[in-house]
Amino acid sequence: MTARDAFLSAPTITENSVTIDHLNWLEDEAISILREVFGGFERPAILCSFGKDSLVVLHLAMKAAAPGKLPLPLVHVDTGHNFPEVISFRDQFVKKHGVPLVIGHLDDSIAKGTIRLAHPLESRNPHQTITLLETIEANRFDALVGGARRDEEKARAKERVFSHRDSFGQWQPRAQRPELWNLYNTRIAQGEHFRVFPISNWTELDVWNYIARENIELPSIYYTHQRQVIERAGLLVPVTDITPPRAGETVVTRDVRFRTVGDISCTCPVASTAANADDVIAETIAATASERGATRMDDRANDAAMERRKKEGYF
């Protein structure tokens, strides 16, 4: 028996071990980190893709501010290749909660010539970094809150909660500041900024349990729906204008949901009939493929892909 077979045949966690105390602990830690941002920076903002992780962060931010109002704007990097369900969710969300939204358009960077695409249908995901850094500079943001989690990926496992970025927006993994107790060193020089990750210590299962407990509303594509897809290299690739079928490929209609919401050109759904958060929790417990591996084409390129992009200023 190979080690892989032994691993797969080992017993699986079948019980949902996430309890209320555990979620409260994570909630308190996140609220505390968010209040550091509210109180400790001049021009903070929340970076929001309106995916589930950033919506959990927004929910926590509103709790951290309660009974006061959210003291910082939201920032969305619009690649121009978005799922329409996510954009309409975004617009309804900011209207309902009355929060200011700053949008950085990738198309603006292309028009300015700061982004040049190799071909029109190229994945826009890696180019987001440029638009994001331009948006940060234009608005002089000194702290950007994000929904990254350390369990997502190896490079993220090493990132600090308050992660320093130099004046070029770069992460220096070798020169990270030691982070002691909750005494965060938030001091920066002109032009530098921090990325702040309040849900660093949450896992995918924690996020879904919290969404279920708090009734957090998500874009509809997180739950089962019928969609035209192509089966390509073990992934279900959604059929869109940007990702059309290639010659010889068969388009099929499947019951699917998305586990992450990114640029349309590199985000794939998984086969699922989960209609609500509780169904997703049941599926997550049974899942044997980690989140990014199953759904993100960009990270599969190679093992060190994320670390390289992060060093360049990706979030």
């Binding site: 691993f7 017993p11 501010a65 003291p71 490079a155 090493k158 660093s200 896992t203 899942a287």
Partner: protein, 449 residues
Amino acid sequence: MSPHATALTPPLSRTAGEGASRPLRFITCGSVDDGKSTLIGRLLYDSKALMVDQLDALSKARGAQSQSGKLDLSLVTDGLEAEREQGITIDVAYRYFATPKRKFIIADAPGHEQYTRNMVTGASKSDVAVLLIDVIKLDFTQPTLTLLPQTKRHAALAGLLGLQHTVLAVNKMDAIDFDAAKFARVVTAFGELAASLGIHAFTAIPMSALDGDGVVAHTERTSWFQGPALLPHLESLQLSEARDNTTAHIAVQWVTRDQSDDHQRWITGDLAESTLSVGDAVSVFPSGATAVVAALRTGRGLVDCAKPGEAVAVRFDRQVDIARGDWIIAGNADARVLTQKTQAIIAWLDNAPLTVGRRYVVRHGARWLPARISAISSRLDLANGQWRDTDAGLDDSLPAEVNANDLVRVEIEFAQALPLAAFAKSAALGAFVMVDPGTNATAAAGMIQ
């Protein structure tokens, strides 16, 4: 029997009581080849926290198969590209796994000497220290067993940082035929060291992280050992946020106003050390103003009583001058003891050495203020875990300069008197961080004595 067959302990009945199910954070301390990464890989693997694609990436990685054909579990934790090439862990990585009983957060800290700062970082956010001993490196032929300098360093740090529990993972027992007498000698040697470093209790466990003995369960080879295996032990540990004989404190993070018509001010921060209830009298540092708690909120909404460790928002019964950096202290103002000059232990973290007399910026609670080190009284000699007087370098066996990874006892003078407490009594009032005002680098972690 394959250790994987016993991968998960059956869920035991949940013990009732406060904090029974809060996540347990532990730091693993050991050097590159003590089997630390293998131990973590083993825990993740046996608890199925590894996913298939992670496992596949592992199988693809160069050198993943060891000569015996076993998967090299140590590769699981080596996150950064350069590290994979060098085969060493160079920074703290956080790992997550859960059993039916508990969620765990592992701070995987490097054991190599120049990276002590990362261990301090990881330990400051941990409840439990798991110290690895590599029995292959010990000389059992000597009448008195000598532990490695790095074990002394790790134990000293664990003791200083006041972790709630210490576990001694006596690893690679397979290499010494699971010899119970040799295990006992390691425990005796560590017991003497622990006593000298302020570690009052520890649990020693014989194991082979490579083969799985003693990690999730004991095997026939460790059947002579009466204690628990590592994972069931970690599952059962009780954690406490409250300290004895301390009053509630809040380092004020941010002040907001109610969105309702009355625009009442709410003061936010983390509640430390003790509970706080509506109706409690408090005083404010530095203004000295007193007030009564009129309302309390946590993430769960309005509450009558908040527990230590909770992120709270407080409304007072009257207008009080208060801002970020101030303290809310339970009790009346007369109980406050303010200190400006005191003894502390600092772990120096910056590559630039400490300059005595120089103004640094210090963070205490949410307050930033200038401070300087006025004298160095002793330093920890890591060869034997003993504190030795420095007396301005009279002891020529120790260098006078304080460099990265050094631990020294100092006199520190703050720019203003603060509500300080010994770190052992209150982590909230007793901890501080020193920052180089020129580079903004985090220069030192400090603990008031």
